[in-house]
Symmetry: C2
Subunit: 649 residues, 2 copies
Amino acid sequence: MQYYQNGFKPGDPTDFRATADSAATQLLVDLPEAVDVLIVGCGPAGLVLAAQLAAFPEISTRIVERKPGPLMMGQADGISARSTEIFQSFGFADRVLKEAHFLEAITFWQHAAEKPDQIVRTSKKADGRNVFSEFPHVVLNQARVHHFLLDVMQKSRSQLSPDYCRNLIGLEHQKTPRDARSGDCYPTRVSLARTDPDHEGQTEVVAAQYVVGCDGARSTVRQLLNLEMRGDSANKAWGVMDLLLVTDFPDIRNKSIIQSANEGNLLIIPREGGHLVRFYVEMDKLKGSERASNRNITVEQLISAAGRILHPYTIDVKEVVWWSVYEIGQRLCDCFANISPQDSDSGPPNVFIVGDACHTHSPKAGQGMNVSMHDSFNLGWKLASVIRGHSSPEILHSYAAERRAVAEELLAFDRELATMFSVQEDSSLEQGDRLEATRLQQYMVKHDGYVSGTLTRYPTSQIVAEPAHQALASGFEVGKRFHSSPVVRLADARPIHLGHVLEADGRWRIVAFSNREDPTGDSTGIRRLAEFLHNAAESPVKRYTPAGSDIDAVIELLVVFQQGYRDINMQELPAFLSPSKGVYGLRDYNKVFCPDVDKGNDIFDERDVNRGKGCIVVVRPDQHVANILPFDGFADLAAFFDRFMIMQD
Amino acid sequence: MQYYQNGFKPGDPTDFRATADSAATQLLVDLPEAVDVLIVGCGPAGLVLAAQLAAFPEISTRIVERKPGPLMMGQADGISARSTEIFQSFGFADRVLKEAHFLEAITFWQHAAEKPDQIVRTSKKADGRNVFSEFPHVVLNQARVHHFLLDVMQKSRSQLSPDYCRNLIGLEHQKTPRDARSGDCYPTRVSLARTDPDHEGQTEVVAAQYVVGCDGARSTVRQLLNLEMRGDSANKAWGVMDLLLVTDFPDIRNKSIIQSANEGNLLIIPREGGHLVRFYVEMDKLKGSERASNRNITVEQLISAAGRILHPYTIDVKEVVWWSVYEIGQRLCDCFANISPQDSDSGPPNVFIVGDACHTHSPKAGQGMNVSMHDSFNLGWKLASVIRGHSSPEILHSYAAERRAVAEELLAFDRELATMFSVQEDSSLEQGDRLEATRLQQYMVKHDGYVSGTLTRYPTSQIVAEPAHQALASGFEVGKRFHSSPVVRLADARPIHLGHVLEADGRWRIVAFSNREDPTGDSTGIRRLAEFLHNAAESPVKRYTPAGSDIDAVIELLVVFQQGYRDINMQELPAFLSPSKGVYGLRDYNKVFCPDVDKGNDIFDERDVNRGKGCIVVVRPDQHVANILPFDGFADLAAFFDRFMIMQD
């Protein structure tokens, strides 16, 4: 899609109506007296959490925001492959990919050896980040991501919408009488000052079972919890601009890193619609008077600096869509919740901070929006599972344990990258040597996987088993996200991505990779597994599925056979593999898969699954692999779920 | 996506709000006194035409419909590859593919040789229709296609919505004074009876420049034009049902053709959402009393017949979503407009009939909705071009000429297919022989391409040149639709489908495939072509682009080079290849492409383009190839457009 040719316009680029996406129509209603979860802040972290919780209408969720309506432009734009996988699980990856700009190539530019006042391209290559996932690395205005998440929330069974014009002013813990309905209590009282003209001066008090601060780098929730950010103070200032411009710079539609001899560095990120482009301008090299104080910097100064760096190419800026100056160091909060994992004797936490509220870093690695969303995607299913009475509240400690390690890693990466960006390369190198040799370039290539967001590995815990049987499927690493691969659905021969069956619906999955045997026999492994899950007293499906729910409501069995789709008759498989569900008892045919042999995609090869033995891969609701077990490891399978799940009637 | 598990629900399956897609909120406003185009009927034909015309806010279009609101369920469901290509050009193919069921495999069942009361599968194979296009053959409720088209209309610059509750009652031709605004006149007066409670008894009269009857098999427009349908009377009755059911039939999620020994024939089309299924039941074999009159047939009788055909498998129907009985012969109208192409001395036509209004046939080939949409996609750009003053009104004769031939071909196909379906196979054949040999199966495989809708070839005419230079690119056949192929966009290295650049925006395209030479030189072929189009007095771009419009507003140049994207610098190409456009003069980088050598997709090989000579492919606004010329065939290029276009100031 090509758009913004005649200027930037917020909202759906395919919608030409003047009134589309107007923030003015937001409904302002009073908050209820008590909620299960109160989310503070409508950034990417808050909205991912809200979208996740909205899937469960039995959980009362509200999300409050200081601003009067949705974000319309600016801020983050990088969307990692892992984020798009998560969007897929919410059902809107297609919408992101349709609008986004794809970063297919990356170019590096430096000053010419002979003419230090001119830049020359040293390298143009395919972006190496596009091999870690079925999804590419793309860029899209953060406001559009918000819009898609808001759409998921609004169309959900909970019909959740943000409550705008609310300023958090107080957070008190106090034990209240237990609520008769759920046996839970609402121990935290949140005070909110209303800021819209009709309610100005009014304060609302909401009792909440859980409070999640997604309120950014200056988080009020964090301050009210008396948690402190530690780390480097601002160590680097950059200017960032979203521009519509005319230029003769040849790589204006490619991600380009430009290191000039004397004018500083520039990072160019082409953006959605074919015209918009983002410039990151290093501010150290701004002329003295320009740099006097970052706060007095004008966008004209940033444009002028970018022009000097790009010499001999020129830019003619037609519209500044958004711009900002940032000076952010790498800072991290000791604890991501009101009770730290080390202090687990004090009971489970019930107030959390997420995203920028607990870690800040520079935007250069394109991780800002992503890591924040991954934080709350980690927390969301846990909160839902605990509130719905499926899991022990102790699992809530794993949020801080898992995500703080990710944040530490991110800060180390960002610190190193920021340094790399600013170090001048040795200009005495000959052109030929420099072509492939710049350290920044090498560093970035080395970390393509990290930046894709797909390599995060959660350590062994209550909800991540020791990888004792990792060798049975080395392509599904315990602790990492389930790496999707193409398969064919047996029932209708449709090629699909197996990972896309793992929707963000709070369910655990047991993905069973069968061994070579004909699965339609009478005493096959798959029949024994189905029999165990369906009937055994120790079966986690039996133990942890509430009475009256569909058989797959809490734990879903997915099966992948080695035979092609023409070689297996659906009806000869155990009925448990296409269970009867819903009010009519219709059979669910979305659970049995085969390798896509026609296209040459064999998931057993691609993920190195032991063909002779097969295996069981246990996948968490956030798609991280929790356990790998032998195909007949029924006792271990039961024991794993027994660690944290709550027996149902 | 999996949905309808707890029963069918009209509207967006991702929207869980109760009020979604309500027909009750339709606004009823008065029609204007005069319009450029009045479309009668909100079926697929009418909506495609409306969506096309809505792209041009300078054209006043209205679409009226007898019913009180949008279709909510039932009717057609087959979507051919060509239709999805057209949806792509409107920007919503992704939405169709996300919701649709993919017909990946097809199975054939017959009665067992030994047990004639039981059916056995004789064949299960990949659906052969998925090789003619980048898009597959899918099925989706017609109501959803309507919804997407309505969405295009509503979000367009024209903000077009249907006017419901209007019954066409009169159509008079009378010359009226010329309209000062456009120099056009509104020669047809249309009378409409309003049927909503607030306006019942009122008649509106609208003067229209053009009237298009998309009002179905019982078309009032056709009757008011005194045009008659000719052809076979009803020759075959079938019952059709959309069901939610439980069955042990193994291929319930695959397209299945079942020919029983004594109980008749059944066609099963699995549908969107993983549960819904359509049954077509042949009615000849219904028991005597059931068949007494088709009008008295009950759905229980159809279900019972389907159950008998499927024996020994059983069905347990849980919900009948929609059902109907149809008895339709192959009928065709002599003329598709008020003035036939043979009568061109009488001037151009200004009243047209489209889709079922001019041709009817059985739904078994899955062509119903498709051919109707292709009819109006053929007509839409021509009307727009004439009304906007770009083309001579004479081109309007080509609608009937081109589409009546398609309809004739369709009726012949449908007649033969209907016969095939009902003929009993010779049951004395051994099982092995029958496996691959049934005539129906052979017939269907042979006609996969036809059914995909991609093989339609328009004959030589004012707007389709003689294929004198076809050998330069035998994969782009003159008269057929431009067959897309993957390329890489030079500016940002993004892999895209070249055909997807050809949006439904009324523009002609000149797609120039360059020869092997380095395109960045001073006197290259591409430079000469750009120079000709940009500056020559005979250039069709110069002659036919209105002053003040973007240079590519009427005719767009697209260029495909043979070099990879790393081998060409955008800035060394003629500026005409990335022209300045819009209020800011931003450069359009969406016009230059390279083979996708990294993925091994070379469009020159795939479409058999002459590498030594290159060529020019002229593509109509409806994506049909109008001409193929040598790369330097400037005079012929100019002469082709001179045949039908109108010189601009």
